[in-house]
């Protein structure tokens, strides 16, 4: 008991700190652990090739859906190509595509490379605003020089729509 502070107020403060420290410590520990293990990286095809992403590692692959590349098979599988200016990746996806998925538009998929280099998507994300262009894709395209400016983009979206 002698180690405890004499004043009631100081004791209360000590009790509060003793209470808060393990809770906040646990929160920080959990967060750091989760950050190391659950982060999901985003690459465009060129970036993914440059980073030598190993097969089986889950990440988000985004870019433009190449014109004419979408093949819908009777068993429900869809093949398409995601491209930026420097590289292209074949993608296989089993399932229904989101309503906003279109050829020539931006797309974000989540999945991993198979050993044969084909990207097997487990999710095709419908992360779009009404311009059909996910922000990550916009940035990746700007970085690779594929970006043609907002107005052209809008014109192309209108053309693709009509």
């Amino acid at each position: 008991m002698t180690l405890l502070p004499k004043s009631r107020k100081a004791r209360r403060r000590l009790a509060m700190v003793a209470l808060a420290a393990p809770i906040l410590g646990a929160a920080v520990g959990l967060t750091l652990y989760a950050m190391r293990n659950t982060v999901s990286l985003f690459y465009s095809p060129a970036e993914a090739h440059a980073a030598h992403v190993r097969p089986g590692l889950t990440f988000q692959l985004g870019g433009l859906v190449a014109q004419g590349s979408v093949v819908k098979r009777p068993d429900g599988t869809v093949d398409f190509v995601i491209m930026d200016r420097a590289a292209r990746d074949s993608v296989v996806y089993h399932g229904d595509l989101p309503d906003l998925f279109r050829e020539g538009q931006g797309v974000v998929t989540k999945g991993a490379y198979r050993p044969d280099g084909v990207f097997e998507a487990s999710e095709v994300l419908a992360k779009h605003d009404e311009k059909y262009m996910p922000r990550e894709v916009t940035k990746a395209l700007k970085a690779s020089g594929e970006w043609r400016g907002d107005e052209q983009q809008a014109a192309r979206a209108a053309a693709a729509g009509s």
Partner: protein
């Protein structure tokens, strides 16, 4: 003409809000009742002016006046009336007017209705509300005025995004915005009290109804939004930890913590600085949400079209409001009185633990949401967090707080008997463990964590009921006496009971649905069957169907179990010609508290025979996920009715004294 009147009314509202702020501040400094009264009048005037502008915008939408840019971009003559009205807040500019309407509306309510408040505190609060109103109105008038005219009006409008044409989305923003903006009153009261340097039990009692009302509205708003995402986006889930979802969830967490810490401040005069901090935090999170949704810095399913310039302006407003609030807090908080003392085992401590866990959980959500921005700024590569991050951080922290939840209400203030409280909960604990074990044994595959979740939910419900039974002296007195005691319980106690049971219902549903959802998909022709858990789905027919502004292909899917027809689902694919956009409409069949959720995919041809990819989910106990939060909101409303009855009335002698009791 109406649009010009509306624009004028918006500018008038801006000027009135500035007048409200200046008059109230001057009145407060000079102690002049005339000036503060004028400030209150200006607050009412600002609300009326925004209401005029809002009405003008609504008239423009309902009459399809395409000479107004906003209407031309977001409406269409063929759209049903409900969505013409919902179009007002289905876009960025219009939703800002709704935001301002709620903001000035709450300002007017404090100005005209806050008679119980001390005059100086009230003048400060009205002034703070005026400053907030002026900032958001200035933003609306100068950067996002929805009432601007276009030079050459188009013959037809571009219509509202089909995804947004849904009754739940039509009513969800008004609830959500009232909840967000209701926090502004809490913020203003905190600012006002910090200026006066007095945070006491009485202040906590004024804040609580506002916090309760905003919390209830926010709860309803988030639930409606989640339900919309559940059945409109066709992905079978109800929460994706999307930035926009998190943006609405963080103020809710802050408000939940605030409700609990305000109880301590009200009853015991303690934790006053912390309560003020949470009051400031709740509205800061609301504004952060507005910024995240509108600036497009984070990509989301629900984002408005991106405009970085507007984002910077909103960030500026956020910086000014939060910066001045927390600056004032840092200056004044050290001088706030400490309040009543309490022993390590007491209800105060239980509520402190509750607050620590909820705040820590809110911070993990904040970090997860902002992490992509931080990482991009530091390393320029892009990354984000999905569900697994939150499962590892948020879920265990909240599980801890829920685990101790039933114990808290059984502890006495100041010094409590933990052993006695646990003794009264052993039946509840047994029931919860039995429920968990039963769920674990019955369901394949066995999932221990999910069974723990169900047990946790059962523990909340049973524990809360045990506390109610304890209050009513069930078992000790006769049933008549118990009923009489239950009838005499204050509404606030009923509100708490409902809210805690609602939480339990939600936790059970969320744990069960997430773990034992059954999913199946198959390319189906007419007459084909699909097995979904214990159910058999057969695609009977697919036919055309005409809506008011869309054409659709609608399937008839019969759901059978052991040869008995359970229900017939009608999933559809709608085609909206104006936007040239296809939209799936899921069918939800109800066997009890679970949903059978059917999505009709695109038509494909399999060697001449038409086929459709049909996806189906058996979302077990999913109804509980939406029913629980509604119960929580109902609890908030019931508790609020209690507050209102007691507002300004002298305390009853049986109630504990309001003033902090002197230290033992």
């Amino acid at each position: 003409m109406t649009a010009e009147l509306g624009s004028f009314a918006l500018i008038l509202a801006l000027v009135l809000s500035l007048a409200q702020a200046c008059l109230s501040i001057t009145g407060r400094i000079r102690g002049s009742a005339a000036l503060t009264g004028a400030g209150e009048g200006a607050a009412a005037g600002a609300f009326l002016a925004v209401a005029c502008a809002f009405t003008a915008l609504m008239i423009a939408f309902v009459t399809s006046d395409f000479s107004v840019v906003n209407v031309a971009e977001n409406s269409h003559t063929a759209k049903p009336l409900l969505y013409k009205i919902a179009g007002v807040w289905g876009n960025h500019d219009g939703s800002m007017v709704l935001w301002c309407l709620a903001l000035t509306g709450f300002g007017a309510v404090i100005a005209l209705g806050g008679d119980g408040l001390p005059t100086r505190l009230k003048a400060n609060a009205v002034a703070s509300q005026g400053v907030l109103g002026a900032m958001f109105l200035a933003y609306t008038v100068f950067a996002s005025n929805p009432l601007l005219r276009v030079l050459h009006p188009p013959v037809e409008g571009a219509s509202l995004n089909p995804i947004l044409q849904d009754p739940f989305l039509a009513i969800h923003p008004p609830f959500l915005y009232s909840g967000y903006v209701g926090m502004s009153v809490v913020y203003s009261l905190a600012i006002a009290a910090l200026i006066e340097g007095r945070i006491d039990a009485a202040w906590a009692r004024w804040v609580r109804p506002w916090a309760l009302a905003s919390w209830s509205l926010l709860t309803i708003g988030i639930t409606l939004g989640s339900f919309w995402a559940y059945y409109e986006l066709g992905w079978g889930g109800w929460w994706a930890w999307d930035p926009v979802e998190n943006a609405s969830f963080m103020p809710w967490l802050a408000a939940t913590a605030l409700l609990h810490s305000a109880v301590v401040t009200e009853k015991r005069g303690a934790l006053s600085a912390w309560t003020v901090f949470l009051a400031l935090m709740a509205f800061t999170f609301s504004m952060l949400g507005a910024f995240l949704v509108r600036s497009g810095v984070l990509m989301s399913v629900h984002a408005f079209a991106v405009n970085p310039q507007r984002g910077m302006l909103l960030l500026g407003i956020l910086g000014v409001a939060a910066g001045s609030g927390f600056g004032l807090f840092a200056w004044r908080a050290p001088s706030l009185p400490g309040g009543g003392l309490f022993a390590p085992i007491s209800r105060e401590t239980a509520l402190v633990i509750n607050n620590l866990f909820i705040s820590a959980a809110a911070v993990t959500v904040l970090l997860g949401t902002l992490y992509p921005l931080i990482r991009e700024a530091l390393t320029s590569d892009m990354a984000s967090f999905g569900g697994p991050y939150y499962t590892l951080t948020f879920v265990p922290l909240m599980a801890m707080v829920l685990l101790i939840l039933p114990i808290g209400p059984l502890l006495a203030w100041k010094r409590a008997d933990l052993y006695g409280a646990l003794q009264r909960l052993w039946v509840a604990a047994l029931l919860a463990m039995a429920a968990g074990a039963l769920v674990l044994l019955i369901n394949q595959p066995h999932k221990a964590l999910a069974a723990f979740g169900v047990a946790l939910g059962a523990w909340l419900i049973a524990g809360t009921l045990a506390e109610l039974a304890d209050r009513a002296h069930v078992g000790k007195a006769g049933p008549g006496e118990a009923m009489r005691r239950l009838g005499r319980l204050p509404r606030g106690a009923w509100g708490m009971t409902l809210a805690h049971i609602g939480m339990g219902v939600f936790v059970m549903g969320a744990a069960f649905e997430t773990a034992w959802r059954v999913e199946a998909s198959k390319v189906m022709g007419l007459g084909d069957h699909l097995t979904l858990g214990v159910y058999q789905l057969s695609l009977d027919s697919v036919g055309p169907f005409e809506g008011p502004n869309f054409a659709a292909e609608r399937g008839m899917v019969t759901v059978t179990k052991d040869g008995q027809t359970v229900c017939v689902g009608q999933p559809a694919r709608r085609f909206y010609p104006v936007q040239r956009q296809t939209l799936s409409k899921v069918a939800i069949c109800p066997p009890g508290i679970s949903d059978i959720y059917i999505v009709l995919g695109e038509r494909r041809d399999d060697s001449g025979r038409p086929t459709w990819l049909v996806r189906a989910y058996w979302n077990r106990w999913s109804r509980l996920i939406f029913f629980g939060p509604l119960l929580m909101a109902l609890g908030g409303v019931v508790s609020l009715s209690d507050r209102r009855l007691r507002f300004g009335l002298p305390q009853r002698a049986t109630k504990p004294a309001v003033a902090p009791e002197p230290a033992e």
